[in-house]
């Protein structure tokens, strides 16, 4: 099981702040993304339309990063603080 968080425009678009997902023993972020996209057409479309960043355990990562049960993943749009 992993925890997945969504922020800002992505969170609003998906109408989802956080969810839990059962994953294989260890897989890549891209596999998690595929799994999320299969949820519905809206999820499929949202993830393919927007430029997104991802973080594993609160560190910026990429699609090749290995994810393990117990991890916290997050997806979000490019940042705009400051």
């Amino acid at each position: 099981m992993i925890k997945i968080l969504f922020f800002a425009a992505l969170r609003e678009r998906l109408q989802c702040r956080e969810l839990e997902l059962v994953i294989a023993q260890s897989c890549q972020v891209r596999d998690v993304l595929n799994q999320l996209q299969q949820q519905s057409e809206k999820w499929q479309q949202t993830f393919s339309e927007q430029q997104l960043l991802c973080a594993r355990n609160q560190q910026i990562c990429n699609l090749d990063t290995i994810v393990q049960p117990g991890d916290e993943l997050a997806f979000f749009p490019p940042v705009t603080g400051g």
Partner: protein
């Protein structure tokens, strides 16, 4: 050499520039204190009502601490204060404070710019603008990415 001092805060409350300056000015051996504060800008054309700032609790603090450490290592500054506000802010209110104490002015100027450039492209914070005509999320600017590249950040 004294251990560098780092203060990182993510808060909804306002901050006092004078208080933060005093803290930095008390840094042993410092000969320069530089503070930058960013405000909510209403350029008059968009009729901004408010700005809403969302962040990723935990990761924001980690990212800001990381940049403060990088600035200390790179510019040998003695103290860094970084305060970022979250929640709903109105025009002219303070959003962000970067403060640096160092031996001389040149490293303080460089460190301050470095920190702001990094923060704008790396710290997980997002702005949503509320205008008279509606609300939308502010898109990341390519100019900010260009500025960050000057420091060889990937």
């Amino acid at each position: 050499m004294n251990k560098p001092l780092i203060k990182i805060t993510v808060q909804s409350e306002d901050f006092s520039l004078a208080d933060e300056y005093q803290l930095l000015a008390a840094t042993p051996g410092c000969g320069a204190v530089l503070t930058f504060s960013g405000l909510v800008r209403d350029d008059g054309e968009t009729a901004l009502q408010a700005l809403e700032l969302e962040h990723y609790p935990g990761m924001t603090e980690q990212a800001l601490t990381g940049i403060a450490l990088l600035a200390i290592e790179r510019f040998k500054v003695k103290a860094v204060t970084l305060i970022h506000r979250i929640g709903t802010l109105t025009p002219q209110q303070q959003i962000v404070l970067v403060g640096v104490a160092s031996s001389h002015r040149s490293e303080a100027f460089s460190a301050c710019e470095f920190i702001m450039d990094y923060l704008k492209t790396k710290a997980p914070l997002w702005k949503k603008q509320h205008l008279v005509t509606g609300s939308d999320w502010i898109a990341a600017k390519s100019t900010d990415a260009e500025r960050a590249k000057r420091w060889d950040l990937t």
